[in-house]
Structures are given as C-alpha cells and as structure tokens.
Amino acid sequence: MTPIGIAQIVVFFAIVLAIAKPVGAFMFRVFEGQRTFLHPIFRPLEKLIYWICGVREDEEQSWIRYAASLISLSIFSFLLVYVIQRFQGHLPLNPMHFSTPNAPSFATRMTPDLAYNTAVSFMTNTNWQSYSPDTTMSYFTQMAALAVQNFVSAAVGIAVAVALIRGFARHTAKTIGNFWVDVTRCTIYILLPICILATLFFVWQGSIQNFKGPVTATTLEGAAQMIEQGPLASQEAIKMLGTNGGGFFNANSAHPYENPTPLANYVQMILIFSLAAGLTYMFGRAVGDTRQGWTIFAAMALMFLAGVFICYPSEQRGNPIVNKLGIDSSYTGIQPGGNMEGKEVRFGIAESALFATVTTDASCGAVNSMHDSFTPLGGLVPLFNIQTDEVIFGGVGAGFYSMLLYVIIAVFIGGLMVGRTPEYIGKKIEQKEVKMAIIAVIATSFVILGFTALSSVARFPANGYWNPAGAAAANIGNNVAHGFSEILYAYSSGAGNNGSAFAGINANTPWYNLTLGLDMLVGRFLFIIPALAIAGSLAKKKLIPTTSGTLPTTGGLFVALVIGTVIIVGALTYFPALSLGPIVEHFQMLSGKLF
C-alpha cells in the first residue's frame, strides 16, 4: 500500500461520513412529505404527476397493496423495456442502424432472450449486461428504456427501504405509506436534482452528450479506430447514484467518456454510497434515535474498510509469479507498481481497488477496472461482498433493507441470549419476521449455488436452441478454478442485483440469459416481498418500552453482533463454493500456477 493510496481511501470514507447526515435528513423530510427548499420548483410537477396518474397523495396502503403496486409497476417496466428493445429498429435515434438490415457487421442481434434478460436486468436495478451496449443498443433504447429504468428501479428500491423504516417507526398502524407517492417523491426531489448537477459536472470533466454516430480516428500506429459517441453524460449520474451500474459503453466506467478523470472517478464512487449512507441516518431520524442509524452505518463502514483493505494490498502486492520473473512491480515515484493488469493508468491501483469494493458493497456493478484480472484475494472481496447480499451501504434502498433483514436475524439470536423475546427498536421480532428474513437469505443462496451448479455440469446437444453444443461451462474464457469463479460471480452478481461481471464469460446465450434472468428476479423480489411483509407486520405491533433488560442495539457490541452475523452466515453458505474458486486459486498462485 502507498501513502497516497491510503489517503485516497481515507478521504473517500471521510466524505461519505460527512454527507450521510445532510443527505439522510433531506430524505427524511422528502418522505415525510415535509417542505424542502426544492418544493417551490418541483412541487407543481409532483402534483401534476399525481393528477395525471390519479394518485391520491394522502391515501395510505397496507403492505400487500404496497407490494402489489410495486409488482405492477415492475411488470409494466419490464414490458416497456422489452418492447422498445425489440422494436428499436423501427424507432428513432439509431445512428448505427441496430436491429435493421443496415446494421454493421459487428452488431449484436437483439434476440428475444437477450431482450428479456436486459429488461429484467434493468427493471431489477441489476444492470447485468449480457451484451455490449455499443454494438447492440440504439440511443433511443439507451435513453427511453434503460435510463428511465435506472431512475425507476432505484426509486422502487428506496421506496421499499422507506416502507420498512416506517414499519419500525410506526406502531399499531395498518399502513406503511403509499408506493406511488414514495416513488414519485424519490424521483423528483432526490434522484433528479442530484443527477442534473452531477451530469453537468461530468460534462465539465470531459464526458460527452450528443446524438452523433461514431467517428473514425487514426491512431499513432496508423490503425483505424472507431470512437463511439452518444448521449452518455446524462446516464452517467443516475448509473452511479441509482447504483444501477449499466454502462453506456461496454468498458463501463473504465471508458474515458464515461469516467474521464480521477476526480470524476471519485465523484462516481461518492454518488454510489451517498443515498445508501443517507438512508442509515434517515432510519435513525425516523425511529427517533439517530444512534440506531449510526450503529448500522458503523457496521457497514467497518465491513467496507475491511474489504477495501484486503483488496487494495492484494492488488498493490501484485502477482508473485510476475514478481518472481524479475519484473519490478513495486511502487516507485514513476510507476504505480502492483497488479496493473486490467486497470486504467489514470486511476491506479488504489482507486481501482476502492472502486471494485464500493461497486460491490453497493449493488452498483459499474466497473472501472476488470475484476477478472484482479489477484485471487483481490477478486474474492467483490465476490464475497455480493454474496453477503450487498449490505455494505448497498444498492439504493436494497442495501438498507437487506441489511435490516440480517439485523433481524442478529437481533433474534442476540435477543434470546439476553433472556427476552427479541426486540429491535421497540418491536418484537417474532416468527413472522424471522421467517421472512430467512426466506430472503435462502432464496438468494439457492439461485446462486443452484444455477452455478447447473451451469458447471450442463451439456447441450448440437444445433440446440439454448446454448452452443457441449458444456455450458465452455462459455467461460478461463478454465478450472478461475473459470469456476467466473460462473459463480455471474450468478452471484445477478441474484445480488449487482450487475458487475467478472468478465470472461459469454453470457449472451439463451441458457445464460434465461437463468440469469430468473436469478435476478429471485434476488430482487424474494428480498422485496419479505421486506415489505416485515414492514407490514412491524407497523401493526405495539411499541415496547426500552429497559435495561432490552438488548442494546446501539454501540460497539451490537455492531460486532451484526457484522458477525453477516460474515458468518455469508461465509458458511458460500465457503465450499469459494474454496473451489478464488481460495484455491490463491493457493495455486502462491505455488506458482497460472491459468
């Protein structure tokens, strides 16, 4: 590790810490329906939307109606994205003529399975991309279908978190808020204003925003290079803020237009964590005890720092095999040293390792370096982050409600250990809460482990529809342990609604598109529905007064309990699989084996 590298990480964390409170306090006002400084500008727009959609602002919903509204919106979103993709050849803003007879030879065909996978992916805030956007999607599709979902799916995630927070904050209540109002307010007062500012910032830093087609340049070597363009600055902000992560280009945030400078890179990372960090503060405010929020924040922060300080030194140390060849990969004044494979020179090791950790702590999935090229331990961190359901700040809303499900499990076991029916924030944690929390954990582990197993051994006949002939595992670019990590990472990324790829796997076949689609749906909705059920059940409960006999849910001991629960449940579930992937690879690397 280098002093400058450590400083970058520390400053980053300090900024996240500093913005948590103002962001959270603002979000609290917005979702409580209190007036903010943005109301003079946006309130008429909000009212107009309610008027058009026939939403009654003061009408509250039970958890079942809340969930039903959410699902209906998700189905509509899915269909809209699917249809736009399938008809993009007939729609405007398609300078490359994708999905038309005039499409360039390198274009990817928009098949039904790809359109399905992508629609699910963006509707679930995963932004897994089985395709390469630059060779597949028209500008119209990117803007009207994908970018819109970046806003909507983020707002949906936050709405669920807000509903769950209300479940704790309310007592003896039948309702948990109005889904349509929450989504509207989230979009108008939070996502939109921040994105407008951030977009202008990215343009200043060098991102582009136009409708032009690609231009061809001649490189210094004399080769022709096609440089793509498009309306991408406007998508960059929501891609990070909404923890969506779906890139405008295949290279995602490694591309100079998407992430032009180290400063832009820094802002991108802060955008990823900002709302999730704010939610912890908002939670504390809503339940009337900000220490409760800071405790969650502390648990997340410690896990974040642990991850980044495993990943960063692993990358900075570099590959011992390369080192043994006499190649100097130490840090000096003129070279970053370490494992630079797959990393951008303008970001260096620290900001790449930090980005990889942040993007997988949150369910963002944008990448500024290739995780596939990380050292085994460096790559293990993002993988394990995803497998523990991205609870370290996490995806907007999703990270928070996932974390609370783990907190419920921790409180249940810890609460018993102090001799009372477990309680959290004055609410008894009983059968229903435990059942719902465990359903969520079971569901994700089932799809991740199950689909990885299927894809490890599935074989397909020649000329079949699902996959090219032979093993499904043949789609991976590397073999043995590393190849196994690629499959495991893909399904973990899908179920975790992360969307980042380890890369090295050709996932654009009906088999992978279908299974990853299911994987994403399970990961999204079998977390959301239990979370809302818990919200409904908690809201109904009576508030129990806190006494010295109550399990203390603030302070260091509880932080340790929560972290222990997340790590142990995650580790126990995935240790066997991980031992056949990154762990064995690490030992093999130490003994000098390569893939």
Binding site: G419, R420, T421, E430, A453, V457, A560, I568, T573, V584
Partner: protein
C-alpha cells in the same frame, strides 16, 4: 406433621407412613440429581424408541441427520456387498451418524424422564376412593370418586381422602395437601372466603366438611398436574417456533451448499483431469456437521427442562408459553402484604395526645386488645408489656364486655368497669368520641397524618369521650426485599406494590422497600385497570393472587401466578399455580423464564459458530484429491482426509452429549443488564464456539490415529 394439629382424628384407615411416603416421593423427585440411574435407564431406552422416523420428523434438523444416516448406511451395505475396499470408514461414519440422532433423542428423553417419573408417582397416589355423596334428601350414598360430577355435594371427615376438586360449603377442617405441594404442614380449609378450595387426592386430617364438587373426573387438578409434569401435551412456545424456523432455514441453506458440491467437483475434475468426487458418506458428514445439530438436538430438551425447573420450584406452569412469557415481563405487580412486608403490622410506639400520659394510653390500648387475636392486636399487648411492664390482666375479675372489630364500625374495644375503651381508624374513633360528647383535638389528626406519611398505620385510642392517643402500627419490610427488587431493576423489570393502604402509607413503604411504583387503595378493578394500562403501553405484566376477586386480574396479566391456598377461581384464571403459596417466588419464575431463552440463544450461537472449524476439517479433506493446494486450509494438521471427516463427525455427535447437562440445567444466569449479559454470552458461546472445535477435532483425530481407526 399431622400430629401438630389439635383433635387428632379418631379413625386412621391408612397407616401414617403411607402419606408420608407420598410427600417424600413428590419432594424426592424434585430433589433428584441430574443423572439419576433410574432416569438414565429410562432415557436410554427412550432414545431408541424415538428413532422412529415419524417421531424424528417433528424435528427438521434431526430428521435430516436420520435420513443422512440411513442413506450412508445403505451405501455402505451396497459397497460391502460389492466388496469395495475401505468400507470400514463408511461403517464408522454411519455408526456415528446414528449416534448423533441417538444423542439428540437421549437429551430429549432425559428431560422428559424426570417429568414422567414424577407423573408416575402422582398417579400412584391417585387411588379411587369411595365418596359419601349427599343426596337431596340429606342421606348419604356411597359412590366411587370417579362417578362424581361437578355440582355433586359430598361429605368428608378426618382420615378420608377428598374425592375430587371442590369448594367447602360447610364446616372447617385441616387438610394435608402434601400430595400436591410436597409440604406436609396441614392447611385450614373452611367454607366461604378465600380458603374454601380443596383438591382431590388430598386428605382431611381433622373435623369434617361438606364439599361441592367443581370438576368432572379426568379434569381435576391432579389430572391436569399429571399431564403437565409429564409433558404429554407440550406445545411449542412462540420463540421456540421462531427459532425452529431459523434453524430449519439454515438447514435448507446448508443442504443446498452441500448438494451443489458434486457438480462443482465434477466441473473441476473435468477441467483438471484428476481427482475423485466426494463420496456420499463424506457429503452427508459435511451436511450433518454444518446443520445446527447441537441446538436442533437440544432444543426440545431445553424447553422441557425449563418447565421442569419451574416445577422444581414447586410452581406448576399451565404452559411453556407462560414460562417463556415470564422472561419477558416488564412489570411485576406485588401485593404488599405477605410479599413485600411480613404479613402483619406491628405496634412500635404509643403516642399520647391531649394531655394523656403514655402509660395511660398503653394501658387502655392493652386492655382494648386483650381479646384481639389478630397479629396487630397481639403486638399491642406485647409492646405494652415490654415497654411499660403492663402485664396481661385477668379480665375475668372484671365486668368486661369485648366489642369485636366490624367493617362497619372500623373499631374494636372493650367495655370494662364502666369505661368504654375503643381503638380503631382515626376517623371512626373521632366519630365515636364526638358522639360521646367529647372533643376531638387537632393533635390527633396531626399525629395520625404523620404516622401515615411515614408508612405506618395510626390506630386511635379513646376512653369514652376522651381521646388518649395513637398507636403506631408499622409494616415490616421483609429482609432482603430491597436487594431483590434492585436486581429486578437491573434486569429491566419494574416492581409495583399493590396495597389497600392510603397513598401516604403506601408511598412510605414503597420507598422503604424500594419498589418503582405503587397502587394505593387498590380495588380489584384498579388492579385490572393498571394491568390493562401497562399492557397498552406494550409492557408484559406478571402478578400473583389468591382471592376470587383477583381472578380477572390474574387472567388479564401475561403471567398470573395463583397461590395454591387460593380459590379455585384464582387457580383457573392464572397460568401458573404456586404450590408453596409464596408470592415472592414470582421473581424466581422470571429468572427461569429468562434462563430458558438465554440457553436457547446461547446454544444456537454456539452451534453455528462451531461450523467454522468443521469447514477447515472437511473442505480440504473433500477436495484434496482434486486440488492438493487446498491442504493449506488443513490448519489443524489433521492426519488424513478420512481421519479429518471422521473426527469432525465424532466431535459433532459428542458435543450434543457434552451439552446435555447444560441444556437441562440452563445457562448460568445472573441479574445484570442486557448489555453485560450479551457480552458475556457472545464471548463464551460465540467466540468460544468458534475456538473450541479446533482443539476438539484435533484431539479426536489424534486418538483415531492412535487407535488405528483411520
């Protein structure tokens, strides 16, 4: 003993020793050591009976183990028949998997056996007696007790067993209830009031009573007691169900984690071109080691043992839910009299007013109390004697007419030698003086108020129209009460004193005893309202009671402990019956409830934490033929893949047995704050749970090698 009573019964149909025996038996079971040979024998036998898959299926974790054991056994037999080499390993694994199930069964059987032994003893005392039923025409009819129906009236006299639960409607008798309570001191049962309930199977020692039977055969208190101690109808408590869901969920996750390993291995073998896939025995071993067998195997034993511990305190809990709820109690309603204070008030001071002298007052007070048999009355006589040397006089020499206390006059006293001596409530005495033409001095009210403020009870004394002074009666707070209430507070439980006293008196005693709140001049309705109000604020309330008018409050409270001496109505309304009728015991019951939950939580934590070490034993063993590099994970340096797997399975099985005593006795519980308790238990069962298996598995591995078993 029975002989302590006056008027020994003429008839003695049974030898005295038999009833002593009954008392000894029920006491004896309670005092029985944890591993009594008889109980042990019974439990071992039961462990095999419980292998029946239909019984194991109630416990999802152990069911998975049993299916795994059966599967492994089947494969071993198949291999043995095919003459495959190395079948000895498979046999050992199978044996230990079966042992895992047996050990869990043993834990449950041990917990049940204690209750069953006690139930058997109770059954022995339940002999069918002949009852003397009183017919409408007043004649007796001899009928077997089992033919009695609710509403029948029977006659019962000294030496006979009471044929069924009922209410005394006529007469008074001393009754030996040792069958139920284990306590052989006889109790007085009389018609009317709160001591009218009698229990079937108990025995009248003196006099005779008429009893109206209140329960049908098979539904008596004794029947219910047998069912309860036997645990035959044990229902899972809410927390137990929630915990079961959690461990069943974890079991599912681990099932998936293990089931996906063969495909992963197939992939790796295909890619690397060497190695063997893990065998069924190894896969099942890993699964059994990972699923929470420790808590799964001990969970029901913990619950049964918790009920049993309550029973050992001579409290009969009507359901496990009640025991569990007592751990959650936030507010404890304690009756002042008999619980916080000694049952009676004592005279501590004579305060003369209006020019009377102290000895004048003491003399009048003693005279007026000579016929007063209440503890208060006696304490006045004693105080006068001790302080002023006034001896009890032979009142027969005088023309004395005693005026007993009545609720109407609120006074008692004596008319002697033309004097009208009265003592009683200040207001009542003031009225008496005024009626007699006397003047009530202001100082009487002042002194009375001062005594009340200090928690005492003022008793005014008057001689005809003249007020002599006030007797200061004081409630004596039980020794150690303050400390016990403080420890309750440390556990986060508020104590509330219920008293009929006025608010001033109540406040003073409340302060002296250290209760958090008090309810003065409490009527049964006030009590009920107080409970409802507490519950509306989300608090759980526990209380004790014995009278019929306590019944609604007992029913409303989350934990209602009825005194065995109390009425049937009270006993039916509460969800626990204290056979010793000691209201202070509520505090112990709360501790047991907490201990029950702590034991469950701690063993769950321990069980899950154990998995870490097992991974380090089994994962390298499982895949070392494919990836030799994974031997780096064999940090315990286990001898061979086979010894590693076997050691983990054996450790997993033995830990269940090793923890049986802990499950039955409960985790040590001290009344400290939740934070301290969490820290302690996390360190012992969380951190300890991660560490302990490493040396454990290592040692077993060494032993297996030494014994040439692997």
């Amino acid at each position: 003993m029975a002989t302590a009573m006056s008027s020994p019964p003429e008839k003695k149909p049974e030898p005295k020793s038999k009833q002593d025996e009954a008392a000894l038996i029920s006491k004896g079971v309670r005092a029985r050591p944890l591993f009594d040979p008889e109980i042990l024998r019974r439990a071992i036998k039961e462990s095999f009976v419980k292998l029946n898959p239909r019984m194991v299926a109630k416990n999802p974790v152990m069911f998975v183990v049993e299916v795994g054991a059966a599967l492994t056994t089947a494969f071993v037999i198949k291999d043995a028949l095919a003459g495959v080499r190395g079948v000895f390993f498979g046999i050992q694994i199978s044996v230990w998997l079966w042992f895992t199930v047996l050990f869990a069964n043993f834990a449950e059987a041990m917990a049940e056996a204690r209750g069953k032994a006690q139930a058997d003893n109770l059954r022995k005392t339940k002999t069918d007696t002949i009852a003397r039923k009183i017919l409408p025409n007043g004649k007796f009819e001899m009928v077997p007790a089992s033919k009695l129906r609710a509403g029948d009236v029977v006659f019962c006299e000294a030496g006979y067993l009471i044929p069924g639960d009922g209410e005394v409607i006529e007469g008074v008798a001393s009754v030996d209830e040792s069958v139920i309570t284990g306590e052989s001191a006889p109790l007085i049962r009389e018609s009317g009031g709160d001591r009218s309930a009698v229990t079937g199977g108990t025995k009248v020692l003196s006099d005779h009573i008429k009893i109206r039977i209140t329960s049908n055969p098979g539904e008596t208190f004794l029947d219910r007691m047998i069912t309860l101690v036997e645990g035959a109808v044990r229902q899972k408590t809410p927390n137990e169900i929630a915990l079961n869901i959690l461990i069943a969920g974890l079991t599912l996750i681990f099932l998936m984690a293990v089931a996906t390993l063969p495909p992963y291995a197939t992939f790796a073998i295909g890619a690397i071109g060497k190695g063997t896939a893990p065998t069924v025995a190894v896969l099942v071993s890993l699964l059994v080691c990972l699923i929470p067998t420790t808590i799964g195997g001990l969970l029901s034993a913990i619950g049964i043992a918790g009920m049993d511990r309550v029973m050992q305190h001579n409290v009969l809990a009507m359901s496990g839910k009640a025991v569990e709820a007592s751990g959650d109690v936030n507010t404890l309603l304690l009756d002042k009299t008999g619980t916080i204070t000694l049952g009676n008030r004592q005279a501590v001071e004579f305060i003369p007013v209006d020019g009377a002298t102290e000895s004048e007052l003491a003399d009048a007070a003693q005279l007026s109390s000579l016929a007063d048999e209440t503890p208060e009355g006696r304490s006045i006589v004693v105080l006068a004697k001790e302080r002023y040397g006034l001896r009890g006089r032979e009142v027969a020499e005088h023309e004395a007419q005693f005026i007993p206390f009545s609720a109407y006059t609120k006074m008692s006293g004596v008319n002697i030698d033309g004097r009208q001596l009265r003592k009683g409530a200040t207001s009542a005495v003031a009225k008496f003086v005024a009626d007699a033409g006397g003047k009530v001095p202001q100082s009487l009210t002042d002194v009375s108020d001062r005594i009340s403020r200090n928690g005492g009870t003022p008793l005014a004394v008057a001689d005809g129209p003249k007020v002599l002074g006030v007797i200061h009666l004081k409630d004596i707070v039980k020794g150690g009460m303050k400390e016990r209430l403080a420890s309750l507070r440390a556990m986060g439980i508020r104590s509330v004193m219920i008293t009929g006293d006025n608010p001033l008196t109540a406040a003073a005693i409340a302060q002296e005893a250290g209760v958090d709140d008090f309810l003065a001049q409490a009527t049964p309705k006030d009590k009920l309202e107080y409970i409802k109000n507490e519950q509306a604020q989300g608090r759980l309330v526990a209380m004790t009671g014995d009278g019929t008018n306590d019944a609604p409050a007992l029913a409303q409270a989350d934990v209602g402990v009825a005194m065995n001496t109390g009425t049937m109505a009270a006993k039916e309304a509460g969800n626990m019956v204290d056979l010793d009728s000691n209201p202070t015991k509520l505090i112990e019951v709360v501790a047991i409830g907490k201990q029950l939950l702590i034991t469950r939580g701690s063993l769950t934590t321990f069980s899950i934490a154990n998995d870490v070490a097992k991974y380090f034993a089994i994962i390298p063993a499982m895949f070392v033929s494919i990836y030799p590099e994974l031997n780096h994970l064999n940090i315990m340096g286990l001898h061979s893949p086979q010894s590693a797997v076997l050691a983990a399975v054996i450790f997993n099985a033995l830990i269940i047995v090793a923890l049986v005593p802990l499950a039955l006795r409960g985790v040590r519980y001290k009344p400290v704050s939740a934070g301290q308790m969490l820290l302690r238990n996390l360190l012992i069962y969380g951190l300890g749970g991660i560490i302990v298996p490493f040396p454990g598995i290592w040692a077993i591995d060494k032993m297996l090698v030494a014994l040439h078993l692997a």
